[in-house]
Structure formats: C-alpha cells, structure tokens
C-alpha cells in the first residue's frame, strides 16, 4: 500500500493523542492537586530504500541514498510535576504540600497510593480520609468531641479537647518522595501508584530530607496553565489539519492514477 498514506495516518494518530492529553489537562484545570500531562513524540524508524554510501563503481560512492521515515509515534504522555498555585480555603482539614512529596493513602486493595490532593475529610468513625473515602496513612482518628484540629508544618496533627487547655497530639502525617515522580502511574481519583520507573517511595517527616512542609487551610490547585493549553490546542488542530490534508492528497494521487491509467 502507499507509504505516504500511512505516514500521514501516524501524524493524525499522534495529533489525536496530543489533543486527548490537552483535553484532559483542560478538564482537570480545577482538580485539586492535578498535575498536567504532555505528549512526547518521536520520529518512527527510517526505512532504507537505497543505501547511502553504496559503491556506484569501485571508487565512487552513491552520494545519497533514500532513507524514508515512516512517520511519528507518541513515546510518552508524561506528567509534569511543577507546583500548582496555592489557594486559601481556611478549612482546617485542607492541607497543601509546599515542595516535593505526596500524601500516602491506603487503597482498598491494601497497597499505598500517593496524592497531592490535600482535601481531607472525616468519615463516620472520625478517620481522616480523602474525598473519595480512602484513609490517610499512617491513619489518624479524630475524637468526636474535638473542638478544633491543627496540622503543623512538620505534619504533627493535634486536637483541642473540651476542658483541656493543652492540645492533644494525635499523630504525624508522613510524606513519601520519589526520585522520579514523572515515573509514577496515574490511576485517576487524584492518585498515583509506585512503579519501577519512579523508584521506591522514601518516607520522610514533612520539611525534612527534601520533602516539602505542610500548610493547613490551603489547597494546591492544578498546575494546568489554560493559556498554554489553548495554544497547544490550536497547534494540535493545525497539525491535524495539515496531516489530514496530506492524507487526502496522497489519496487523490492514487485516485488520479487509477482514473487515468485504467482501461
């Protein structure tokens, strides 16, 4: 089959993927702790139609060969972990991480998930859980009668109890850090999973060992930049159009040959 058609098709595929990534970023522009993605492309292998440097005669080389590139492919849709901006919510269970690190969440299957989404809530048992109900690890249980909850920069969680002027310490939030956060596997629900590419999770007290400190009453917004995504969208659309033009042109060339050479 005609090579030109298939090359244009790979271009359409790649732009389609990029559009999905851009749409996903835009859709999550208001998702707390969301990290934007980026599609990375690579040129596909080159076919040697005519070997460059082959001998034409005993002492003359072919100056040029024909290396036909066969298109483009998406090698990765990588996550970019730049810090999102902070918004003040004044909710005592909203916690933002200033710097590196992830909150550890116990998944229903017993594994740990990691998130930057610090919108915590209490469930009916007083456990600190994510908005989707998955509990924070190490677990914290806030007593029913607690008047207020304090989260320190180093993750220390304390509560004020009635008739007691001294705050009572419940525990400490630990953060996990990865050598390569971009290697984490996003699973949706604002959660990431550890992979071989991310390296093993290194647990640390907030504010030590390079992980960020915690800020109570704030949330980290998504790091999607709308203007940038819209520019990406325009670029993607134009490339898509160019590739679809290439596809129809290759088609019309074959059509022309068929119509004019057919008996």
């Amino acid at each position: 089959m005609n090579q030109a058609l298939w090359i244009a098709k790979t271009g359409l595929d790649a732009q389609q993927t990029r559009m999905s990534v851009v749409s996903n970023n835009l859709a999550n522009v208001n998702t707390t702790g969301h990290k934007k993605g980026r599609a990375v492309f690579e040129d596909l292998i080159y076919q040697t139609i005519r070997q460059p440097g082959a001998q034409v005669t005993q002492d003359a080389q072919l100056p040029s060969g024909l290396m036909l590139g066969v298109g483009v492919r998406t090698v990765a849709t990588e996550k970019l972990f730049q810090q999102g901006s902070m918004v003040l919510t004044d909710n005592s269970l909203d916690v933002a991480i200033e710097g590196r690190g992830f909150f550890q969440i116990l998944l229903p299957d017993g594994n740990l998930g990691y998130t930057r989404d610090g919108t915590f809530q209490l469930n009916s048992e007083g456990e600190v859980v994510m908005s989707n109900g998955y509990p924070l690890q190490p677990g914290l249980t806030v007593p029913d009668e607690a008047l207020s909850i304090m989260v320190g920069e180093d993750g220390t969680v304390g509560v004020m109890l009635p008739d007691n002027p001294e705050p009572q310490i419940l525990g400490q939030i630990q953060l996990a850090d990865f050598i390569n956060p971009a290697g984490l596997q996003p699973t949706g629900k604002n959660l990431f999973l550890e992979t071989a590419a991310s390296g093993a999770a290194q647990e640390a007290v907030p504010g030590t060992n390079g992980v960020g400190g915690l800020i109570q009453g704030m949330l980290e917004t998504s790091n999607v930049n709308i203007a940038e995504e819209l520019v990406n969208m325009i670029e993607t659309q134009r490339s898509y159009e160019a590739n679809s033009k290439a596809l129809s042109t290759a088609d019309s060339m074959i059509q022309f040959a068929n119509n004019n050479l057919a008996r």
Binding site: N2, Q3, A4, I7, A8, T10, G11, Q15, R18, R38, V40, F41, E42, D43, L44, I45, Y46, T48, I49, P52, P63, S64, G65, L66, M67, L68, G69, G71, V72, V75, A76, E78, L80, Q82, D177, I179, N180, G183, T195, S198, G199, A200, Q202, G210, E235, T236, R238, S239, A242, N243, K245, A246, T249, A250, S252, M253, F256, A257, N260, L261
Partner: protein
C-alpha cells in the same frame, strides 16, 4: 514508446517517495528537536545504443535541513534546548553514540538521566547518574548542578557536564532510529562552545506552510507524469490500430 512510459513511471514513482518524505515531515511537525528531510531529485542517465533520451529520475533524501526550530518555554528544569548549533549526545539502543536535538530529560528510578524515549544521556564519562536531589539545574554550558535531598540552599553540588558536540552537519547521517551519527562512524569531540537553555524545548523545524505547498506541487508533478503515461498508452493504442491486421 516503451521508454516514454518507463521514464514517466520513474517520475511518478519517485514523486510518490518525495510525497512520503514530505508527509513524514508533516507528521513530525510537533516532534521536539526533529529536523526535516528534503527530498531532492537527481537524474540517473541511462544511455542506450540509439538516441540519448532516457534520463531516469531518482529521489535523494539524504539532505537534512539543520536549521533550528522555534523555542518553546516549558518552565520545566530538565527541559533543555540547544542554542544555535550543536547536539546532545545520547546512547542509542545498540550502545553506540547518537546525537539529537530533543532535550526532554528525565531521571529514571535508578537515577540515570534519560531522554523522554528512554535513551541514556551521555556526560563526559558515559551515562549520567544523579543522586536523589531536591532540585536539578542545568547551566548554559551543560553543567549539571544539584541540591541534594535535605541539603541547605547553599549546599549545591556541581555534577557532571552533558556531552555536547558540534560536528559539521554535512558529515551527519540519520540512522534508522532517527538519531544523527557521523558518516564515518566515529564519535564527535565534545565542544565547549555549545550553549543550552534550560526550561525550554526546541520544536521541530518543519515549516508546515512550506510543506503543504510542496505537497501540492508534488501532486501536480505526479499528475503530469500520469498524464504522460496515459499519453504513451494512447500512442500505443493508435499504433496497434493503424498497424494492426484486421
């Protein structure tokens, strides 16, 4: 008659190849660091015993346009764009050294610096290993500076330097993996004058408008060749009719 048909056929066939090369450029209009290839045609004379009329056409696409692409700011510390001439040296899958202009660097789970497609980036002494770091900065000459995990703001450590080369582009050929290599197979010497900018990526240097124009041009060429082929066919038909025994 047969010559006319075959000469036109090579023209049409090679135009189709040129179109494929052009489509490959268009498909890679958004590939970081991609360099477009130019499909030139040259004549391949075939002299017969009679009238010198056969000049077959061949497409040569070795020519790569090495002009720089546009710079795109990404704000990511590990994205590097090469300013002006030069290339980043990476280890190809077969272990040899290849050159690229795509600079989306990553640190993998073992701390090895890699490109987005997984190839290890080379430093002065082979692949670069980066210890766990809070931040990684790449200077304009490719020097990597890290702030170790938990380190003081003043405790930055200078690491290795990216291996940046600047071989003459006329000596470069593109391999099947899309990486550039020197024609004679040797590794280019490191060049201290190559400058990089971090937080930026270089886009592909494909000019879409130009490529679309070339596409139309090639289509028309193709149509002309096909026209010649059908004319040759008609001539043959007339011959058969006039000279046929019927």
């Amino acid at each position: 008659m047969d010559r006319m048909l075959y000469v036109a056929m090579t023209g049409a066939k090679q135009t189709m190849y040129a179109q494929a090369v052009n489509n490959h450029n268009l498909a890679n209009a958004n590939t970081h660091g991609f360099r477009e290839s130019m499909a030139y045609a040259y004549t391949e004379p075939l002299r017969g015993p009679v009238y010198d009329s056969r000049d077959y056409v061949q497409v040569a696409n070795e020519a790569i346009d090495f002009s720089t692409g546009a710079m795109q700011t990404t704000g990511r510390d590990l994205d590097v764009a090469i300013q002006g001439d030069g290339f980043l040296a990476v280890q190809a899958e077969d272990g040899t050294e290849g050159y690229t202009r795509a600079g989306d660097l990553h640190i993998d789970g073992q701390g090895i610096m890699r490109l987005g497609n997984g190839l290890a980036v080379l430093g002065d002494g082979g692949p670069i290993a980066i210890p766990p770091a809070e931040s990684i900065l790449i200077g304009t000459d490719g020097t990597i500076t890290i702030r170790p995990l938990g380190g003081e703001a003043s405790g930055v450590v200078a690491m290795e330097r990216l291996r940046l080369v600047n071989p003459p582009t006329e000596n470069l050929v593109r391999g099947v993996d899309g990486l550039f290599r020197q024609r004679d197979g040797t590794n280019a010497p490191a060049d201290a004058n190559v400058r990089v900018a971090s937080g930026m990526l270089e886009t592909s240097n494909v000019n879409t408008v130009e490529a679309l124009t070339r596409m139309m041009e090639l289509t028309r060429h193709y149509e002309t060749q096909v026209k010649v082929m059908s004319t040759a066919d008609n001539l043959g038909k007339s011959n058969n009719r006039l000279l046929g025994l019927s």
